[in-house]
């Protein structure tokens, strides 16, 4: 009975178990417990939520390990944490701390502008952001076990997540309908690993779970992303920047499960208080667009 850890199936399978759920950003044990109580399937342990990272400016790095440990010990649901793009040591460190998933994230300042992590090397699974199918399949090629849209984090504006999810879904549909002789050209055009496209065409879907992230601020936003074919949602700044995080968190979880029950979502959306303020994307300068980090 040979035991194999860190296999593709074990790493991808972990994300399969999160489907239909909400993963919430938290910055301490207290928030982690509120998230768990609200029905989150996992928490993302951070030093600052994306909207605060945006406001603070400067270099955003991996969270202080004390925060990661505090959150890890406070809840029984899985704990994720973010490492900078290409930061091998931050990733190894988070793996050593026993986090259940690492987000190689554009929300933090990239450590490497050329190379992403070779995620196949690790026992711990990774989630990565993507704007289109090329980016998504490159990350899968490097060993990512889960995807999420990049959206535009910390803006409370859903428009970029919608753009990314719609584009990825459309590109998947296109690949599925292609003939053998068209596939290599598509791989070239997308900058996609050929074997990942072959896999998509054979199975009719992405080989890993694909969540929505970046700008989800209301229960209706979460339901919209599910409607567009997301497997689940990440909510960053939205919950703990709202007036009543407990109620807000629960409402987002319910809206994600029952994304097609519109009268329920209408009920859930009542009296939630003020949602986070939000930023119009066109007012962001190029240097402030997190989604353009990574390639």
């Amino acid at each position: 009975m040979e035991k194999r850890t860190g296999t593709e199936r074990v790493k991808r399978g972990m994300a399969e178990m999160q489907k239909g759920g909400v993963i919430m950003d938290v910055i301490n044990a207290e928030q982690a417990k509120i998230a768990e109580e609200a029905g989150a399937v996992a928490v993302m342990a951070l030093e600052r939520v994306p909207s605060d990272i945006r406001a603070a400016g400067g270099v955003a790095r991996m969270a202080d390990p004390t925060i990661v440990e505090e959150v890890r010990d406070a809840v029984s649901i899985p704990v994720m944490a973010k490492a900078r793009i290409g930061h091998i040591v931050e990733a190894r460190l988070l793996e050593a701390l026993g986090v259940d998933y690492i987000d190689e994230s554009e929300v933090l300042t990239p450590a490497d502008e050329v190379f992403h992590l070779n995620k196949s090397d690790y026992t711990v699974p990774f989630v990565c952001g993507a704007k289109d199918l090329g980016e998504a399949t490159r990350r899968i090629g490097e060993g990512a076990s889960m995807l999420r849209t990049k959206g535009e984090p910390g803006t409370g504006n859903i428009v970029e997540a919608v753009r990314h999810q719609r584009l990825i879904q459309a590109q998947v549909r296109k690949v599925i309908s292609m003939s053998d002789d068209e596939l290599m050209t598509e791989a070239k055009n997308l900058g996609a690993p050929f074997h990942v496209l072959q896999d998509i065409r054979e199975t009719g879907r992405l080989p890993v779970v694909n969540f929505a992230a970046g700008g989800i601020a209301t229960p209706a936003d979460a339901a919209l992303m599910m409607h567009l074919g997301s497997d689940g949602v990440f909510v960053g700044s939205g919950i703990f920047k709202s007036d009543n995080p407990e109620k807000f968190g629960r409402a987002i979880v319910e809206a994600t499960t029952h994304y097609d029950d519109f009268s329920l979502i209408a009920e859930l959306s009542k009296d939630l208080g003020v949602a986070m303020k939000g930023i119009e994307i066109s007012t962001l300068e190029a240097k402030d667009r997190m989604q353009d980090r990574g390639w």
Partner: protein
């Protein structure tokens, strides 16, 4: 036709639907408690047990699920599903649905980096079952009416009590459908017994 439901509050639903497929099986994705009336057997999928339990309460599934089990209708729980079924959960004051006489320990093998896969022999099912353990629980102990189906490293990882089947791994993540088809047979047999009893 027999109707088998997969509880679809959260988790790996699609994988179970695929693994249950058989010519005489109609698989029902169960999102509302009323649907329990249409089905002959039910699968609790893998996912996050804390989350699923919260949703069970929220959507009025708690009493209907207990009633489903009280009627002796077959239930199959994998990983989080097994935790929902257990009569006792180590270190937790209250169980969830308490339908099967066993004590489970959550995350017993450790965190995600300790998650693993291995081949196991399983009683009534096969000698080389592919088992994927993800932040998996173990079944610490079972009551007198419970049959142990499989062990890994001296720990119970699959068991059955009449119509109730539970395992701590994820047969739904493999292409090997033998365990699911074993459960489908449990459902078929329960219907036959029901007919004779009438």
């Amino acid at each position: 036709m027999i109707n088998i439901g997969v509880l679809a509050l959260q988790g790996a639903v699609r994988e179970h639907v695929r693994a249950l497929e058989a010519p005489d099986v109609n698989v029902v994705v169960v999102k509302k408690a009323l649907q329990l009336e249409e089905i002959d057997g039910l699968v609790f999928p893998g996912g996050e047990s804390t989350t699923m339990r919260r949703l069970i309460n929220l959507y009025g599934f708690y009493e209907p699920l207990k009633q489903f089990a009280r009627e002796g209708k077959p239930v199959f729980g994998t990983c989080a599903g097994a935790i929902l079924m257990a009569k006792e959960i180590a270190g937790q004051p209250e169980p969830h649905l308490s339908v099967m006489d066993m004590t489970v320990e959550r995350n017993a093998f450790g965190r995600q980096r300790e998650s693993f896969e291995a081949y196991l022999p399983m009683k009534h099912v096969g000698e080389d079952i592919e088992a994927v353990f993800i932040r998996a629980p173990i079944i610490q102990s079972v009551g007198p009416e419970v049959e142990v189906l499989a062990e890994y490293d001296g720990q119970i990882v699959a068991a059955q009590e009449g119509p109730f089947v539970a395992c701590s791994f994820h047969p739904e993540l493999t292409e090997d459908d033998r365990f699911h088809q074993y459960f489908v047979q449990v459902v078929r047999d329960s219907i036959k017994v029901g007919v004779t009893a009438e």
